[in-house]
Amino acid sequence: MFELFTLLANVVTYDILQLAPSSGLAKSVHFFVEDTSKIFFLLSVIIFVMGLFRSLLAPEKVRLYLEGKPKGLTYFLAVILGAVTPFCSCSSVPLFIGFIEAGIPIGATMAFLIASPMINEVAVVILGTIIGWELTAVYVGTGLLVGILGGWACDVFKMERFVEDYVWKIRTGQIVMPAYDNSLKGRMTFAWGEVKEIVGRIWLYVFIGIAVGAGLHGFVPTTFFADYAGPDNLFAVPLAVLAGIPLYSNATGVIPVAEALLGKGVPIGTVLVLMMSVVAISIPEFVILRKVIRLQGLVYFASFLALAFICVGYLFNALQ
């Protein structure tokens, strides 16, 4: 069914704009039209469908699922719940406080916060249709693993030392369960509201991602990446991770960039860790987390993630 978007891009590029198929501009325009139409279509559809099931995935529910479970189990549960729960970084702080207050270990809380932005239904479906399901499975598996290890490391290194004091003093008492209108009409209204809100919030990131991807696809020669980011360049992986730290996008926005890089022959490990670093280590997210975790703790946390990504990158490049 996705040929439709390729067809649309063909019509726009070759029939309407009359661009010569071999030109860089034609390649860029084709990439841009195909990815824009496909990604925004999928984005809206998936957010809508997920919106219909929101009451199952509310953060209050996640807290209940995790509360009182054995520590070892909480990491696994947390990353899986993080992956399926729709997430906005603006709810990081209430979520963090809510989890800590319920006695959920900080490791599981952080595991949830690592996995949640990296892996979600939207990114998985779009990634699958664009770069293939095999690589998507690798991305998801790696994301979950880094989340589990990250959570575990937070417990081992006693991250709770860095939690702001006021967090421990908050007593929420009974958590108020949101009363959802669970009629079909209520669900549809909510789902449509979610589409408008989320697309409204992230469209610019997605757009920029597609534009960067299109530019790379049409105008950067393959030899450029072969020279600078090929499998022989040992610095490519750490550089990809470092480059991703100041850059920030959400998981959907980074996909077109990954698509273009893979097309240029950049090794999978390098692309994978660039994606993860852009999404998981981000300044806006850390500014929000700073409200509950002291700077020193955040620096440790970011360093751990960067190190983990570098290992992942080398591993996959070696396996390729």
């Binding site: 509310a58 209050e60 702080v93 406080i97 959802y180 509201g193 809100e197």
Partner: protein, 78 residues
């Protein structure tokens, strides 16, 4: 006069909620003091994780989204 608090970090939905409440209170001819609570610790203190939430006379009556018109009416007449 009722004291109503809208809990939320200042997101669009929270502003929407506050506006809707004020508008419906005006329509019903009811006088209210509307207060926006943006401090996360205070919001969590009410047990609300999903914002916006609505507190009427220190009782949490709503959480997790913009309340619809009917819900606002019933909250105001309590």
């Amino acid at each position: 006069m009722k004291t109503i608090k809208v809990l939320g970090s200042g997101c669009k939905k929270c502003q929407q909620t506050a506006e809707n409440i004020q508008q419906i209170a005006d329509e019903m001819g009811q006088e209210i003091t509307l207060e926006k609570v943006t401090d996360t610790a205070e919001i969590m203190g009410y047990g609300v994780m999903s914002t916006p939430g609505v507190v009427v006379e220190e009782k949490v009556l709503h959480a997790g989204g913009v309340p619809d018109k009917e819900k606002i009416k019933s909250m105001l007449s309590q």
